[in-house]
Amino acid sequence: MKQRNGTIPSMPTPAITGFGVYLPQFRIRTAEIAKHWGQDPSSITSSLGVREKTVAGSDEDSFTMAFEAGKQAIAMAGIRSSEVSAVFAGSESHVYAVKPTSGMLAAALELDPFCYCADLEFACKAGTAAMQIIASMVKSGEVSYGLAVGTDRAQARPGDALEYTASAGAAAFVIGPEHAKGALCRIERTLSFTTDTPDFWRASDERYPRHAGRFTGEPGYFRHVREVIQGMLELTKLKPRDITHLVLHMPNAKFPQKVARDLGFTEEQLELGLVVREIGNTYSACSLIGLARVLEEANRGDVILLASYGSGAGADALLCTMLKQGVRLPPDERPVEYLSYSTYATMNA
């Protein structure tokens, strides 16, 4: 929508113009972990709804995975990497405590050196927070294109319940103006709900996070996801049935299924983005990978509601509309390799 003097409008609606996903080729089945700890494999698998999870190789980390996803996203967006001038990377496993993943990405992906960069942490919602920030920068005209990344090589204490689901992966989104060639999905609105809730945390000198058991449920995940979804629906005057696809943060399959049901969404709406069943919980990349899956298959005009959750706690919501038919990612031809528990433990050491 150009103004009469031919310039681009100064407050373009932001849209996703490219996306990428990176998953390691290693997997470990829930059953394998359960057997190692002497638990009943089928009851654990069915209670979590997660069959297997991804495992990063020992030469992979949040940076290498974010790089691969970012490269794919920029390729799909069909722009030169130097046209991207902002990158925000969200993770709970940034490779350094001080020295940002986003800066390393800007250099490795050969983005515009005059680039806004910073790392984000908000447990599993750091990736969507990055999307919100980039969307705002595009909307305000501060940048033409920006890259939002969620990446994690999630660590879980061996023997802890989290071990079944804490996995590794990255997703990246190029966000630009909705009139950009190949713009895929317009971001209509974003919303966040935040409190101070000690459901899951990791002290800076600790290797593994700690969590508060069942307290992570209702006061944590359910409350915040509910608030942000209800808030978004109210703001946009939409009803659950107006949403074609619902993508939620997925610590397992049961939590999103329950909150969706409670809020009046159907299983069909949740189905496409429910990737946790095959790849586990990729933390900051989790809901982003679910969104990517939807973006591959959705049809023009489909309305997507994404709600992620980060412990500590907060929930982000993004409401989007497909501008065209979904675009498939290039297939990953590497053979998937299932690990035994001992190989998995060595790899994670």
Binding site: E60, F63, T64, K71, A107, E333, R334
Partner: protein, 311 residues
């Protein structure tokens, strides 16, 4: 190794230009690399697309000279001062094992777990392409025979193995078929399938099994062995719209003169479904080729099938 921050900084600036696809010129597996690296390390001398050569880790477990590789960003090691050094490593998208039997002179190629599939609608010229493919690369590939319950036809070559319905059902029940599908026709119910033993025999002979197939069988083979075990090529007729493609197909079917008008119309209906399948199940195809020029098609295979580059 000197790995002070200025040295690492300069080294990492050069990384971006190595992020290209390439071909393996030589490789080795180091039993005892320098202590900074943990465990064995496979290094390749790789020629990149722009002609430059690099020495870099190979992520594939079974490297082979001539193998085509893709770049990957990987962590190389962490310095004593906890700085992380990253490198571009190279992997083969399809892990093709190459075994060297004791005392043998040339690396023999074994392809266990990996199948080449060529799928296309009737009349697109699959037989012509597959015949040339099998002739050109006869040392490396072998066609998987198609089991069928229909009666032999005069126009059949030797790509079929004819079995009775009862035999077919028995094999199916015993789980000895990698794929089985029924193609209903006006005249008879025909079942088609592939025996796992036929595929395995080709692997044991050190060759790559090729299936010249249609969409249902392709889907099933992908389900049986795993999607990533198939290097899948789709063959399309020339034409930039469905209508043009269908008319090209009809023209070829008429030229072939093998079928009655009725049978041709049926083939065309199947063809329409086939073309829709290419779009809907694009995830089952690694490459979509247009059958226009046979020589350039052979080059595409040469370039994209590991091991065939030397043929």
């Amino acid at each position: 190794m000197r790995d002070t921050p200025p040295i690492i900084h300069r080294l990492q600036k050069k990384r971006a230009q190595n992020f290209q696809e390439g071909t393996v010129l030589s490789y080795t597996v180091l039993a005892h690399p320098p202590k900074t690296f943990k465990g064995q390390r496979t290094i390749g001398l790789i020629e990149l697309e722009d002609g430059t050569r690099v020495l870099a880790p190979l992520l594939t477990r079974h490297p082979a000279i001539g193998m085509h590789v893709h770049p990957r960003m990987r962590l190389s090691y962490v310095t004593n001062e906890k700085l992380r050094v990253y490198e571009v490593a190279y992997e083969s998208p399809v892990d093709v094992p190459a075994s060297v039997p004791e005392g043998s002179a040339i690396l023999t190629r074994g392809f266990p777990g990996y199948i080449l599939a060529l799928t296309g609608p009737s009349g697109v010229g699959k037989s012509t392409v597959s015949l040339l493919l099998l002739q050109t690369f006869s040392e490396y590939i072998a066609q998987v025979p198609i089991l069928t319950t229909r009666a032999p036809k005069e126009s059949d070559e030797d790509e079929y193995v004819y079995v009775s319905k009862a035999e077919f059902d028995a094999l199916h029940a015993e789980g000895k078929l990698a794929a089985a599908t029924q193609i209903p026709s006006l005249t008879e119910d025909r079942w088609y399938g592939y025996r796992t033993s036929d595929i395995e025999a080709i692997w044991s002979a050190g060759k790559l099994p090729v299936v010249i197939t249609e969409m249902h069988l392709l889907e099933q083979v992908a389900n049986h062995y795993g999607r990533r075990s198939i290097l899948s090529f789709g063959l399309l007729p020339p034409g930039n719209s469905k209508r043009k493609m269908l008319s090209a197909l009809l023209h070829r079917l008429r030229q072939r003169g093998r079928d009655t008008e009725e049978a041709m119309q049926e083939r065309l209906k199947n063809a329409e479904a086939d073309l829709a399948f290419f779009h809907k199940r694009r995830d089952l195809f690694d490459h979509l080729l247009v059958n226009e020029d046979l020589e350039s098609l052979m080059d595409v295979f040469r370039k994209n099938v590991p091991g065939l580059s030397e043929a």
